[in-house]
Symmetry: C2
Subunit: 434 residues, 2 copies
């Protein structure tokens, strides 16, 4: 099977019209994706995406075009046979790396491409991605990972030992996973731009559906944060978990003061309290607000950042993102470090397709890496799933294991036609008004 | 004066044909720039650039286009009147920030734009940029800086005190600077891809020209590094400084071992020993290889990274880059922190136009921020200056103070025509061969 072409589309959803996804920093996101299709000379095609929030998607699309030559004309089985070498080509090109390295638009673009190759790999093996990964041997998994810059935290031999030690019980865990699903928490009740009545109604509906963990946005006016926290805590009850997410809104000292001020509402974690680049700042905050845990990761751009967050005792929860990290290969590197450091992985999701993607990664982690599920939750946001060919299935606050082959990233043809930016139907009236 | 349009050009120089600029990671750079012209309704225009190394320039060009709407139609004096607000618009757009934030292609693009605005500002005041900055009051300088995320290291009041304390003696320092220039070191003798005869000849020539500090590339095969270090140390003599630059080639433990192995050649500093994102790794290396100093910064993407490098005692020299940081505003933030932490700033230069740009920043630092010049050196690389309207002037290993108004970023019309990618004359034969 040969990859004959790489298509990339700029797909945007006008979520700013209803303020879905709004927070203290991202006031008006239009959830979007740079969407990649690997065209092959045999069915199936490979699908991957990286999540963006409107303007700027065009830059990531351009970056995908710049990486496409590494795939065009390549033999698919050759790629699958040495995923580490393929990954290094994508992130390590001697000229392209300058505009990262391993960060920003070029790394987001790489993630979309890498994930599309893993999707194709899983489809050719007729397995959902989580199952493909869980069935790989420890040696095969280690060989898919680039350990460059993380050997002071974990080296290939340690990783091999860790994966080998996690093997016993895998079949029982898989049976349990298929029967019971994977626990989740819900974010869509507490967007910053929603009015009180809507927030309260959504909390009650979510409770009725069986949710037990809820996330709200903070980082606005302090009195307003406290008022909304009281509202949501009241609506969900004291027995349930309330996560708080500041979306990078604070400086270090400010974060400490603001978390202390919200401590009475018993937050389960404080997420992104400051700059995603500030490892030392996160560590300072974590020491100051304990026992409230610090969570971060959706903007941690590569394994080197996660390594340091773990080395510095800066995070209680590791929030990998499926496509800010450089796709599956780099996610595995972070899962390995998290297992070694004993830090639960609770992926960032929501956006466009992130829930579809990360469920595979958490399920793989449970089956083959950490071997644990206690205290882990995948984020869930109730938007835009209808656009996917294989949308997530949630039951009573848990992700059901996806069963279709691949990485669940494929969007429907109708969605692509309508949401292409700027020419799709949902954008045409806007374009005329502009 | 109104900015009527923003032009952006993809300009590339085929340096890979002679291996100028080659190192252990960047094997074959084609030195390039995303080059920005702010067209005004009155002369002058503003010029800015960000440096790239070939492939990927097109992504940064696209990112400049995405930022251009923030400038088109704007009144120039209004921008000059609140540079902090303007900077925040460029780096803080609620949607565009997702593809950074403050890193990668979008931050490089922002730097080119921000620097073009500063160029225009200096030209309208008929001053070279270093003089414009040095003549600003401490309050005006502080008001140009965004202190978000760095207030735990320096806050606006401390910055004001620091700048006020640096004011005495400024006129004497300026007179001295105009008379004697600013000290430099030379990198162009030691590129990885040059053969021994060329390296030796260049070292002897540089000594004859008055150079006293020389940089070589390391990070290749260990025996080969040692052989080349012996060659260069022999050619420059024991009395001169030898810097070593590993260009991110090593993991942390490897870096320590490799620096120890090269210690006999008396390196003045070891530059970029590992991932530019690895603050803790740099700190570990710095402790292990002392008294050899660690230098880094050309890939430190924003003020938050420099803050941590200083907080963690990870660097002995702070190597700001004029256009990987988000332009002049963010450079000032880093200069302020470096002055507070007592770390000498020795800018990264070379590339395309970096020497032209950073000379202004070091001279401003000497006159108005650190007030110090001892132990500071600006990097100098002897390539591509002939393409600039106001090229650097070097005499006896020192930068002469530039005297023409602006930020020295403007390229000649002939250069732009010949080096436009992919249609310029220097690329046409390549394009035909491809």
């Amino acid at each position: 099977m040969k990859i004959v072409d790489v298509d990339v589309l700029d797909v945007r959803f006008p979520t700013s019209r209803t303020l879905d996804g709004s927070d203290a920093v991202h006031l008006d996101p239009d959830y979007s994706a740079a969407y990649v299709v690997l065209r092959t000379d045999h069915r199936p095609d490979g699908h991957g995406l990286t999540f963006t929030i409107g303007r700027g998607t065009e830059v990531v699309v351009e970056a995908v075009r710049s990486l496409a030559p590494f795939l065009r004309g390549r033999d698919a089985e050759e790629l699958f046979g040495d995923m580490r070498a393929f990954w290094r080509q994508i992130v390590g090109d001697s000229q392209l790396r300058w505009i990262g390295p391993e960060k920003g638009a070029i790394h987001l673009a790489g993630a979309a491409i890498v994930n599309a190759v893993w999707d194709l790999y899983a489809k050719t093996r007729d397995k959902p991605l989580w199952k493909l990964l869980a069935d790989m041997t420890p040696r095969q998994l280690v060989d898919a990972v680039d350990f460059t810059y993380i050997t002071d935290a974990i080296n290939p031999d340690e990783a091999l030992d860790l994966l080998t030690a996690a093997a016993p019980g895998r079949q029982e865990r898989e049976a349990q996973l298929r029967a019971e699903g994977y626990p989740a928490y819900v974010t869509s009740v507490g967007w910053m731009g929603y009015d009180d009545a809507k927030v309260e109604r959504l909390c009650h509906e979510a409770r009725a559906e069986g949710w037990t963990s809820f996330k709200m946005k903070v980082g606005g006016d302090p009195a307003e944060d406290a008022r909304r926290a009281a509202l949501i805590r009241g609506a969900i009850g004291d027995e349930h978990r309330l996560m708080m997410d500041a979306n990078q809104r604070w400086d270090v000292d400010e974060a400490i003061a603001r978390v202390h001020a919200l401590a009475g509402f018993d937050p389960f974690w404080i997420e992104e309290p400051t700059s995603p680049d500030d490892v030392l700042g996160h560590a300072t905050i974590a020491r100051a607000v304990a026992p409230i845990a610090v969570a971060t990761g959706e903007h941690a751009h590569n394994r080197v950042m996660f390594k340091q967050l773990m080395q510095a005792d800066a995070i209680g929860f590791c929030q990998i993102d499926s496509c800010r990290l450089g796709g599956v290969n780099e996610v595995i590197a972070v899962l390995l470090m998290a297992a070694k450091f004993g830090i639960p992985v609770c992926p960032h999701a929501g956006g466009v397709g992130l829930c579809e993607l990360v469920q595979h990664l958490s399920m793989f982690d449970y089956l083959a890496v950490s071997g644990a599920i206690d205290g882990r939750v995948i984020e869930y946001v109730d938007h835009l799933h209808e656009h996917f060919v294989d949308p997530v299935v949630i039951e009573a606050g848990r992700y059901r294991a996806p069963l279709r082959p691949g990485f669940s990233a494929e969007m429907t043809p109708e969605t692509l036609a309508a949401h292409l930016f700027p020419d799709g139907a949902v954008w045409a009236p806007q374009a005329t008004r502009a």
